[in-house]
């Protein structure tokens, strides 16, 4: 490490202030979550008698076990399939098409800046027509489609960087396109696939608009969607609301802390490429 110049002291100070600002809302929620039931706690004040049992109650009231299951099912429905078909399309667009088919890629890229709100109304009628309203499929199927612009863009960018010689070597080694894809390209794409998986997991787990519009029953929703319903129901019970919110955001935060390096890399690249 370099010796600390005055500049870097200022920088450290600034960063520490930013970190405090980032953490304060969490601490404030924690202090409120530990206040006795039905009271109006103060912003940040360690309660004299921390009520850890609030978390137990919130767990039961929010039916956290069911929520975890529901969110997990949705993630399992969305992420593997999205990653698979986006990887295939990224490979197809980067390695198999000539410039004549650039328009196909541009059609995908067009969706990159599309706000979900722009299609949520017709999605409602479409999902209703499919008879999927109020099921997890109402969230799963549209999300797969909505993730395609970013995912395809992401995987294509990766495959463009794989030397074309490898494809040709595989061709001469006797590989069909399908075998080349699975035996050569996918193993080499592991880092890109890993990052995409993390991003899609986060975005699915935290998805709010689709569950709110398409699924009434909180038990069929994502975590974020369920949190919306939880707030609607218990919004006035601050300790319970804060305890529930902390519980609901705990799984992703825990995963994030474990896979900190991968998450940070994925989020940064995701922003840059998106």
């Amino acid at each position: 490490m370099k010796t600390a110049s005055p500049n870097s002291l200022i920088a450290r100070g600034l960063i520490i202030v930013l970190m405090i600002i980032t953490l304060l809302p969490f601490l404030s929620m924690l202090s409120a979550a530990l206040a006795p039931q039905g009271t109006y706690p103060n912003g940040l004040q360690w309660p004299s008698d921390p009520q850890w049992s609030n978390f137990v109650r919130a767990f039961e009231v929010a039916r956290m076990d069911q929520l975890l299951l529901s969110s997990t099912l949705i993630v399992m429905g969305v992420v593997p399939l999205s990653v698979l078909i986006a990887t295939m399309a990224g490979y197809g667009l980067a390695k198999l098409t000539s410039n004549k088919y650039k328009w196909l890629y541009l059609v995908f890229v067009f969706g990159l800046t599309l706000p979900f709100e722009a299609v949520i109304t017709p999605l409602y009628y479409e999902v209703r027509a499919l008879g999927l309203l109020n099921t997890r499929f109402a969230i799963i199927l549209p999300l797969i489609g909505l993730y395609m612009p970013f995912s395809v863009y992401w995987m294509r960018a990766h495959f463009l960087n794989v030397p074309h010689d490898l494809t040709e070597a595989a061709q001469l080694d006797g590989a069909t396109r399908w075998k080349e894809f699975w035996l050569v390209q996918v193993p080499l794409a592991r880092p890109a696939i890993m990052s995409l998986t993390i991003l899609l997991f986060l975005w699915t787990w935290n998805q709010f608009l689709l569950p709110v519009v398409l699924v009434q029953d909180p038990m069929q929703r994502t975590m974020a969607g369920a949190l919306g319903a939880f707030q609607g129901q218990w919004g006035t019970d601050i300790p319970l609301l804060c305890a529930g919110s902390l519980l609901i955001l705990a799984p992703t935060v825990a995963l994030f802390l474990v896979f900190q390096r991968q998450f940070v890399a994925a989020l940064m690249q995701g922003a840059v490429k998106g």
Binding site: G43, T97, F116, E117, R177, Q260
Partner: protein, 311 residues
């Protein structure tokens, strides 16, 4: 024989200049098969709904009964109705908070630190600053609703430093609700922008700063002529991400204010939801949706234009 000519300078393979031809029929077939599943999903749940949105936007329809063709009247309403204009204006006001605060603070930190954050301090910083990116926006909304509540931390702090008269129910205040929502978005995006800019600045060759100092540059000059141009791409990324987050915001507003008080914090995303599902004005909701999409596109285009690597 001597080996003088063995290292001719033209060692690159000549095909690099020319696009590899992949025109064979079988390859084209394979390409379609690989792209088809993604394209079908995309067409079914993005392209088709988008076309339907455009179609709905030309109708007067309550979502249940007969629809009437309504021409461009819905668009006229979106662009003339004072409430809807205010709602669109709200989104652009949010851009000020969502974009300016994270980018300016991030630049300040980056310019001050100007080196890689290594070691444990770097890891902790990254972890903490990325936390808001990992949690649902809804949770950020709830956390800050509590921060801004009458007994929340913001008022508590104001009282503690003797500014009790400033204390208020921030999210219920006609003047302060929108800035408060803006602060929530800024909080969410701050860490991401800071880290992007700090990472970006480490890629600037430090000898540029040394050269500038030898040329007599002041710190401001260094910032203006080295840091800013060197970070052009990263700044572009931050602006793009934050502008989209502001214009297409929904989660935070829905949770923290429900668009109130009045319509002071209502944003297009929330209004589309209300119009389509509460007020059953599907046509108008769709017109607003299309306008929102176009607004995002034309807000992002110049940013992309200015920050792309010019070749």
């Amino acid at each position: 024989m001597t080996d003088i000519t063995t290292s001719l300078p033209d060692a690159q393979p000549e095909r690099v200049r020319l696009p590899p031809s992949r025109g064979s029929r079988k390859t084209r077939m394979a390409a379609w098969l690989f792209v088809a599943p993604a394209f079908i999903a995309y067409a079914a749940f993005v392209l088709a709904p988008l076309c339907m949105s455009i179609y709905y936007s030309l109708l007067r329809w309550d979502g249940i009964g007969e629809a009437q063709f309504y021409g461009l009247s819905n668009y006229v309403t979106v662009l003339t109705d004072s409430d809807l204009l205010q709602i669109i204006g709200n989104a652009f006001q949010l851009v000020l908070y969502f974009t300016l605060i994270p980018v300016l603070l991030g630049l300040a930190v980056a310019a001050a630190i100007r080196s890689h954050m290594a070691g444990r301090f770097g890891t902790i910083t990254r972890t903490v600053l990325f936390l808001p990116q990992v949690i649902p926006l809804v949770a950020a909304g709830i956390a800050w609703s509590w921060m801004f509540a009458s007994t929340g931390l913001v008022n508590q702090t104001l009282k503690a430093i003797g500014l009790s008269s400033w204390a208020r129910g921030w999210l219920g205040d006609f003047v302060w609700a929108l800035p408060a929502v803006g602060i929530i978005g800024a909080w969410v995006l701050l860490g991401l922008c800071t880290m992007l800019l700090v990472t970006g600045i480490t890629k600037i060759d430090p000898s540029l700063y040394e050269a500038a100092r030898l040329d007599g540059a002041r710190p401001w000059h260094e910032f203006r002529y080295i840091t800013l141009p060197g970070l052009r791409q990263e700044i572009g990324v931050c602006i793009t991400v934050t502008v989209i987050a502001a214009l297409a915001s929904f989660d935070i507003v829905y949770i923290s204010t429900q668009g109130g008080p009045g319509i002071t914090t209502t944003v297009p995303g929330l209004e589309i939801y209300r119009l389509a599902f509460a007020h059953r004005q599907v046509g108008l909701a769709s017109a607003l949706a299309i306008v929102l999409m176009v607004l995002v596109l034309i807000s992002i285009a110049p940013v992309q234009w200015f920050t792309r690597d010019k070749k």
